[in-house]
Symmetry: C2
Subunit: 198 residues, 2 copies
């Protein structure tokens, strides 16, 4: 038996612990007991902060979604040619993903077993649709190659972006969020080949 530590948590710091446990065990596989052990406080102390694990999930997912949706309202995403707005959204999505890594990781792993998870999936689809609409607009402007289908291009773009949560580790040093965002934008929009488009 371990001594419970004094509950000095704020909602934010408790959330950070919960998200770590959710990402490690999966949301379905996490019990209040696991959260209590990871936080080092009793279950009743956790209930003092939140109604239960689903509220913690909702708060964590909201943080990820708020960050991502805010990108779509930035000046770079709302003014100018669609292809430039799409590049801006791509770059900033990568940066938000890295800045909010555990929260976006959780969002991307949600399964759909509870109302909160289904809401998360719905909002994620909405985000994807808004980026897809931008991509289609850029294609209609003639700024994207015509021989790659828009839906396929959107999926490959998000495939590249979302894969970052599988390998990016902040502590490993080296690549900053700006470096990774640059690499994604260059690879996706200008291609890896030096003679691309020639």
């Amino acid at each position: 038996m371990t001594m419970a530590k004094r509950d000095t948590y704020t909602p934010e710091s408790l959330l950070a612990v919960a998200v770590e446990v959710f990402n490690e065990r999966g949301y379905d596989g996490t019990s209040m007991e696991h959260l209590s052990r990871a936080a080092g406080i009793s279950k009743s102390s956790i209930y003092h902060h939140v109604k239960g694990k689903e509220e913690l999930l909702r708060l964590a997912i909201s943080r990820a979604l708020d960050g991502l949706f805010a990108v779509l309202d930035e000046p770079g995403a709302t003014g100018g040619r669609a292809v430039d707005r799409l590049e801006h959204v791509t770059r900033r999505t990568v940066e938000v993903l890295i800045e909010e890594l555990p929260y976006v990781t959780l969002l991307l792993r949600v399964r759909g077993n509870t109302a909160t998870e289904r809401w998360a999936l719905e909002r994620r689809r909405e985000f994807d649709h808004r980026v897809a609409a931008l991509l289609e607009r850029a294609a209609a402007d003639g700024d994207l190659r015509a021989d790659v289908d828009g839906r396929l291009a959107t999926r490959l773009l998000f495939g590249m972006i979302n894969s970052i949560v599988e390998w990016y580790r902040p502590e490993r040093g080296g690549a900053t969020s700006a470096t990774v965002a640059d690499a994604v934008v260059r690879t996706a929009f200008a291609g890896l080949r030096t003679d691309a488009g020639a």
Copy 2:
């Protein structure tokens, strides 16, 4: 209680059922009982074909790995400029991934809790390293842009390729493996922008 059906399985057809269950429940979450129910035959009938679930995992993973590694020995992967070999490997990796979708999906989801899973991770790393070496060779030839780090480019390339298992569904019609492979090669090597490289 459901009637057990007569065991008319071959090792291949039993494997197909097992891989479906592994992908749905996760390998860790699958018991011999689950496999017996999905196949509609008794556990002892399954033991007639294989030693246990770990042997089924090994057979399934082997099928995925054999398909992927075979790509590296194809003439298009062994002769010519490194950048063209890299494109060939990218295209064929996508095609094998789609042709062997459930098997490669399983390979990509393996966690590392058993000896077989650790062997799978090791072989997957070996494949990634061989593609990374090709990419570095192409960069040294001056055929890849110099402003994207090789390790990062390899990760983004595999991010795009591996994400296909998350959304590709053969029954949805439309995109064939050749269409998807084309889109990946074009996006990764030539970029989405029409003025790319201009």
